[in-house]
Structures are given as structure tokens and as C-alpha cells.
Point group: C2
Chain length 218, copies 2
């Protein structure tokens, strides 16, 4: 991978002199954040995604809450340790078919069924993003910004043979929705409508402009 | 980068036992082709892109012809050397704003103007793809398949300050249209409609299904 360029704008220069934390160990999220020229340290969140999905009116609300809880857990843990970060970035991504949230497949058969349900139609990928920074005044409450980006993914018509051969690669087993858009799963996707980086784990451009707004109001 | 998975389907197994040539040295094209599980050797085309654009009714026709000429040049050169390949993959990508084809910027000022013209609106990226294989019968004419994929790219509203800072990274200078979607330029793009790999240099899924069709009729 080529060395990452860094855009020479004031707010980003300031941010890059601070303690910025990515609350995720996803290699794809790290790549996307590095592409944006943001310097960060990874501190994976220990928040377990056990929220009751039925409490949320829409998958986009569910990922926003997961992103918030992931970022908050890291912020609070570091604060308690006397190592308060200047900024924490949290994110969560889900695949939704209509109102149903698709998790990682639990079995080979489950992966085949999941991909069969996606074949020949469109689904949505939502990524929630939360930014957290220490309060400006003397209050105890950190500053928080949360947003969500949705991207439509249109799948090819997939034959049973192709689905089974793809599942055989084992790539689906650790991926929400049962496919990896950034690797072999790229062959399954006819096209998308929205931010393609969002499908991989972070809405690159939206995050860049969120960071500009959030840090400019510090 | 993780090891590339290979889909276990018959036509791909056959193809991977053959002499497959990618007529392009683009690192992005290599990555996309590897993601698809295709084994290949790079032989860059020496065809120079000097076709008269005014002869073509549409940018998509221009890239198709460039892709064809690139692949043909490699096929013929290897054939003359007594090293005829089983398959050559050629590709060409252009950025089009309306009917105007945007080249690589020729200067810093040109890059600023190009990005200013793209700011806040949509443009198209076209990639032409050509497959060439030896004739099945005794004829002298190789078998050829050519297609083109178009992807709409929607740019953010870009401030003059941001455009200048991005141009300062020098990333625009060797990129058609003046931005790199796969790297720092990701921050400029609000969203796309179509195949995002196409913007980077090869329409992954379309190419996979073209290869299946082309090799199955061999």
C-alpha cells in the first residue's frame, strides 16, 4: 500500500497532533481511516453487541446505538485509567434485508440460505458512526456526535452452484450478510447506490466532513 | 492483504490452468483481478492512447476501442513471439463530464480547475473491457468479447481550500479526472451509483460473468 497522503487543512493538522482512538480492530476500517489521512491508535471496544433489536424502529437506529455504546465504552475506560483521549471514533455496520438484520451466518447451510435470500435483489448496508470528545466546559458529559449512512447493494442473480462454491471459500462465515464486498464477494455484487466504503465498514467522505464539523466546534 | 480465495467452479479451474494475461500494470486492476480468484501474468500493453476522441459518438465507445487495441497489441505481440496466450484481458478507464472526456491533469492549475468542475455534481466513469483468445477453428482471427460498464460518481461540494489542499498531495496528477477514489480522493466522493470497482479500474462482477460466458463457449 502506498504511503498515505495527508490533506493540509488546519482542523486535520490539529486533530493529527492529538490522541485519536479508533474503537475497532477491523482492518478495513483502519484502511479507510488511513486513506483519509487521519492518524489514530486502535483500542478495540469490549462492548458486546447484545442490544435487543426489537427495541429499535429501524436497523439504522440499531447501528447508531451500537456505534455509540462501542465508542462510549472505550472513552470511559480510558478516562478512568487517567488517559482520556481527545477523540474516539466508534462504528458499527449491519446488513438489512427489509427490516430484518442479517448477522454473521451460523453455519454453512445458514450462509447458503442467507446468500440465496440476497440473490437477484437489493439490500441495505448501514454503518453508524459516533465521535466522542471531552467536554469543553467543566461538565462531566463528553461531547457526542452520531450519524448513520445507508448504502443500497444490488446482488447479481446467483446460481446455487456459485453460492455453494463461494460459501466453500469460508469467506462468508465471519461477515454480516454472508459476503465480503472488499474481497472475493466483489463478484456477487452488480452495483451499489451510495458510499461504497460504507459497505466495507466506514462512510469515508461522511466521516471526513463529520470530523471537520465536530473538531471545528471544539 | 489476505490470501485470495478461489471459487471452486469448473470454468475458473480450467482458466486458472491456462496462460492468462492482464494487459495492464495498474496495481488496482491487479488487486481486483486477484480478488476474483483469477491467476494471471501481467504483460503491459504498449498501445498508446492516441485515438482521436472526436471520432467516437460517446466516451463509452472510446474506452471500448482503447481496451480492444490494448488487448490486441499484447495478443499479437505474444503470438508473433511464438508464445500465444490462452486469454488476454485488456481494460481502459476514463472519466466523463457530460460528453467531455477528462484526462490526467496537465498542471496544478489544471487539477484545481478539473476538481472544481466536478464539485457538487455527478460525472461518469467508464471502463471498457476486452477478452481475447485464440480461434477455435483454423482461422487466423482471434475470438474477441468487448463490453463497457458505466458508474455514476457524485462529488461532495468541495471548497476551494479543500481542493487546493488535495491537489497539494499530488495524488491528482496521475489520475484521470484528477482524483483517486481508492485512496485520499475517497473523501471527495459523496456516493456512487453502479459498480465501485469500475471507478478503480475494472468492473469486478461484470468481468467475472464475462469470463464465465467467454470461456464456456470456447
Amino acid at each position: 500500500m502506498a504511503a498515505h497522503q495527508i490533506i493540509n487543512v488546519k482542523w486535520l493538522n490539529t486533530l493529527n497532533s492529538q490522541k485519536v482512538i479508533l474503537a475497532s480492530s477491523s482492518p478495513r476500517r483502519k484502511d479507510i481511516l488511513s486513506n483519509l489521512g487521519i492518524k489514530y491508535v486502535v483500542v478495540p471496544s469490549t462492548f458486546s453487541e447484545t442490544l435487543d433489536k426489537s427495541l429499535f424502529s429501524h436497523p439504522s437506529e440499531y447501528v447508531k446505538e451500537n456505534a455509540l455504546q462501542k465508542a462510549l465504552e472505550v472513552y470511559e475506560r480510558m478516562k478512568i485509567a487517567g488517559n482520556t483521549p481527545d477523540l474516539v471514533i466508534g462504528a458499527d455496520t449491519v446488513v438489512a434485508l427489509g427490516s430484518e438484520i442479517l448477522e454473521k451466518p451460523r453455519s454453512v447451510q445458514g450462509a447458503i440460505e442467507m446468500l440465496s435470500s440476497l440473490s437477484g435483489s437489493s439490500h441495505m448496508v448501514y454503518t453508524g458512526v459516533t465521535l466522542i470528545a471531552p467536554p469543553k466546559d467543566g461538565s462531566n458529559n463528553p461531547r457526542i456526535m452520531t450519524d448513520v449512512e445507508g448504502t443500497e447493494v444490488r446482488m447479481q442473480n446467483l446460481s446455487r452452484e456459485l453460492i455453494e462454491a463461494y460459501v466453500d471459500t469460508k469467506e462468508p462465515m465471519d461477515k454480516a450478510g454472508g459476503y465480503g464486498y472488499q474481497s472475493t464477494g466483489s463478484l456477487l455484487v452488480k452495483g451499489i447506490n451510495g458510499c461504497s466504503w460504507n459497505v466495507i465498514g466506514l462512510p469515508a467522505s461522511k466521516l471526513f466532513f463529520m470530523l471537520e464539523e465536530f473538531t471545528s466546534h471544539k
